[in-house]
């Protein structure tokens, strides 16, 4: 018992006080951490208010989480009509359920599942969320909150994948026209801020359409974000393509595989395996990027904080709203980074795809 304690003490000394300089740094750091920690805990928990009908419940020096609790419906579903919220839940559930085929051993060509997603998801969203056929129509203006963030990220990621792969292949093509066009596309979209693309989609794009034809703002935003994201994804995939050893191409060639088959059976599986971590990282960026839609007046999880905090019962609740939104984003992004890490570890323990050398 005593020995254990001594060992622990020794370890602490080794980790934190192994030199006088380190000891001072440790103490200073500890002091700062304790100070900030105490302040934060008293703000977020001890002095916090969890129940109340309006901002009179707020206490100085404490958070008013009652605001979040009262407004949670809006944080999750935006201004979607209350009696129709089940439609959002069904949509999300269906989209989640559509991942099941990926885990089914019987389906060998998972690409088909992916293509099915590209067709089915917009249909699900159109039928349930937008309504109009069988269900009452809900204007896209009322979409918002976390569900809007989810839809924008999901659709953006879904469509940027195939475009990104094609662009990456195009940039490595031997055909000058294809190579130049792909390169110009990738570099242009990577060189400008997303916000200017969103501006384009909300201010300029309507001019490019025949008069009388209007595209809903959400669709314009999804298209803009897809164009933007596919350029970044293309670079990640190109990196993966470059990392695949030349022997793999040659082996595939010698087996008589044509270009498409070669890519599908030999190269792409390896590319995806190599780039798992990068794809995870880029997905996180995309999700964080969806917040920019607030600048063009859409109420995603971050954008909805402002209107909710200007409710006359809950004035001045912006800090709580922003911190709550930050917490949710943090949770989502952190979860994805852990998930990618796990997938990566799992992928690396599997035998290499293609030919065993």
């Amino acid at each position: 018992m005593n020995k254990k304690l001594l060992e622990q003490l020794k370890k602490i000394r080794q980790d934190y006080f192994n030199s006088p300089g380190n000891a001072i740094l440790s103490l200073l750091m500890l002091f700062l951490l304790v100070k900030v920690g105490i302040w934060f805990i008293s703000w977020a928990f001890i002095n916090a208010v969890w129940t109340g009908e309006n901002n009179e419940a707020a206490r100085p020096g404490g958070a008013t989480w009652a605001f979040i609790i009262k407004k949670i419906r809006f944080f999750l579903f935006g201004f979607y009509p209350k009696e129709h919220i089940w439609r959002i839940i069904v949509t999300v559930a269906l989209m989640g359920a559509s991942f099941v085929p990926y885990f089914m051993k019987r389906i060998h060509h998972k690409v088909l599942v992916f293509i099915a997603h590209m067709i089915i998801w917009p249909l699900i969203i159109g039928f349930f969320l937008a309504g109009g056929i069988g269900l009452e129509q809900v204007s896209t203006n009322n979409w918002g909150g976390l569900s809007l963030t989810f839809i924008l990220s999901a659709l953006g990621l879904l469509y940027s994948f195939p475009i990104g792969i094609l662009l990456a292949l195009g940039r490595r093509s031997e055909q000058p026209v294809i190579r130049i066009l792909s390169t110009v596309y990738i570099e242009c979209f990577r060189g400008i801020p997303l916000i200017t693309i969103l501006f384009m989609s909300s201010v300029v794009v309507p001019f490019f359409l025949p008069s009388g034809v209007a595209i809903d703002k959400i669709i314009r935003v999804v298209i803009g974000m897809t164009f933007f994201q596919s350029a970044y994804l293309a670079e990640v995939i190109r990196g993966g393509l470059q990392a695949v050893p030349k022997g793999q191409y040659e082996a595939a060639d010698s087996l008589g595989f044509k270009f498409g088959l070669q890519q599908y059976l030999v190269i792409m599986p390896q590319v995806l395996k190599i780039t798992i971590a990068n794809i995870g990282g880029i997905s996180i960026s995309f999700i964080k990027d969806t917040t920019l839609v607030l600048i063009i007046g859409m109420f995603d999880l971050l954008g909805i904080v402002k209107p909710l905090a200007s409710d006359s019962n809950w004035l001045g609740m912006e800090p709580e709203g922003l911190i709550f939104a930050g917490l949710v984003y943090w949770g989502i992004c952190f979860a994805i980074s852990r998930l990618t890490y796990k997938i990566e570890v799992k992928a690396n323990t599997l035998p290499a795809a293609g030919v065993k050398a």
């Binding site: 980790d15 380190n22 200017t196 501006f199 001019f207 964080k288």
Partner: protein
Amino acid sequence: MNKTKIRNLTLQAGLIALLLALFAYFGFNYIQNISQRNIEIGYGFMDDTAGFSISQTLIPYTEADTFGRTFVVGLLNTLLASVISIILATLLGFVVGLMRLSSNKLMSNTALFYVELLRNIPPLLHVLFWYQVVFLNVLPPFKESFKLGEWLYINVRGITIPSFVPQENAVAFHIITFIAICGIIYLGIIKKQMVLRGVHKRLWPWQVLLLLVPVVYAWLTGPYRMVLPQITKFKFSSGMTMRPELFSVVVAMATYTSTYISEIVRSSILAVPKGQLEAAKSLGFPSYRRLQLIIVPQAMRTMIPPVTNQYLNIIKNTSLGMAVAYPDLTAVFAGTTLNQTGRALEVMALVMVTYLSISLVTSLLMNWYNRSIIDRKGDLISKEDIPVE
């Protein structure tokens, strides 16, 4: 072979034709839409009077200036925010990256916490947090500023410090300082060569002496006059104020991007082969020389391409400042000017081309720097450098 060649050519031609058709279609729609609405096409509006004012301008600007000038004002504000953010993010990123490598667990874990916490929160939320929570909610109002003597005022209107007005001999001071700095750097290079050749001779006293020259000159002649902030009715009539809008953007970008830079720094340093360090140790280099001569130059090489990407991200992300009324290129030109003139396509095209050029110039500069590093230090300790005894 010939057949496939022809097929390739036709396919490529088809692709071009398809693209041209698309462009033509959109162009046709655009011209039709525009002419139906009596909007003019072209950049003629750039010479018209803008008529609106801008809060932060680096060059003289009044409402009577042209829309063209608003473009320059916005561009300079974008560059200002970018440059400050890049410097801060680099410093912070290095500190955090080194902290993560510290043998002190408390340090490395704090750094890890910092990185994991901040990088998973959207940059726009960072910006809004600094502006709406810190500035508009926490800081005291203008008349009840937080004060540090007569020197520093912090309030909801920003951070105000004394300004320094250059005097007549400021030019001479600049020249002297420049020469002194060049001398110090030159001595440093010589010293490094000497170390690598195994010659040990003290040069630092000369460097200190060189440094003292401008300091003493400044002390004797006073090339700058310090002007303390003075409060008038509405604002500080003197002193320099960093506005909350700029502050929020810069701090948000610096903290957010520093998490990425710190990871790059950490992994690049870890990527330096251990043998290099051991070899340097066995050659008897002191620890700071090991860092300076062996670790940093090699880590630099792997560091520069990803860090360049982060710099480009910062430049693009400063456009988020428009959410907090920072008058950058996007807010001023793609915002107000577009709205006053209604020339959506012209304005957006110019803004995009500008961002592309900034990105391009930055990449070129960083590439050039990278190449110069590899050229000079590519084979860091080449055979000729190591003394044969």
